[in-house]
Symmetry: C2
Subunit: 132 residues, 2 copies
DNA sequence: CAGTATCCTGCTTGATACTG
DNA sequence: CAGTATCAAGCAGGATACTG
């Protein structure tokens, strides 16, 4: 059911007088362009996670970048942040419905990445070997 | 002992020879994270374009960034670059099969962006209005 | 545990000028 | 037409230390 759209991009966007900053495509891509956003969303799609659990689930993310990225995703309405008033505190992050629908939309790309990553690496080697 | 590797620092990762290229998801996302890659791929999915036509099709892209982005996409095997030995020269860019399959994998995300961009903007306004 | 605060580096991008 | 070359600015991101 998510199949019909598509051709909406260039002609229509320019015809409607949108600037590049108002372009939904660029805005969403920019949101996912961070180094960690997609990995965090994928981790949360499996189950809600606490802060520390997310750190372990997303290897190599720094505390600082995890905090910042989570706040951006929360701001965009993609996940909820729930503070449990325990001692020590625990904070649980979970996808909203909007976030879940985004993950579904990203999944085809993830699958593509897995299937074709080898081809990309091969293309890079050929390109570089050609000495350009 | 099985969870030891979770806390590697970036320095240690580099020292061990690992790069971002070793994670397919991050590598592909990084490739699309440029400010222009997706828009260029979408333009080329409509039809092959010459350099100047691409500049017009992707508003606000600078000559420099278009050159660089096209080169990266070519290097990854996503598009072909064909020089026609005319005077003045003309260069045509077209998607490879790999590039076409990537566009198909990105299309659901494009559709999602169109449908939910308003919700994201609304969430941002609420979040900012809450004074955080 | 779940963050802040601070400092610092390098990459990405833009502007501008030049070329085959 | 389709690029290259060079310079400069801004921001993303990392390391480290501190806190309620």
């Amino acid at each position: 059911m998510k199949d019909a759209p598509a051709r909406r991009t260039l002609a229509e966007i320019r015809a409607s007088g949108m600037t590049i900053e108002d372009c939904p495509i660029r805005d969403v891509i920019a949101g996912l362009s961070g180094k960690w956003s997609v990995l965090i969303l994928l981790a949360l799609e499996e189950a809600p996670h606490r802060f520390g659990a997310l750190r372990r689930a997303v290897p190599d993310v720094s505390q600082r970048m995890l905090t910042i990225t989570l706040r951006d995703l929360q701001r965009d309405g993609l996940l909820t942040r729930t503070v449990h008033p325990t001692v020590p505190p625990s904070v649980e992050y979970a996808l909203t419905e909007l976030g879940q629908s985004l993950v579904q939309a990203v999944l085809p790309l993830i699958g593509w990445a897995d299937r074709h990553h080898g081809a990309i690496r091969g293309a890079r080697r050929s390109f570089d070997a050609a000495g350009l």
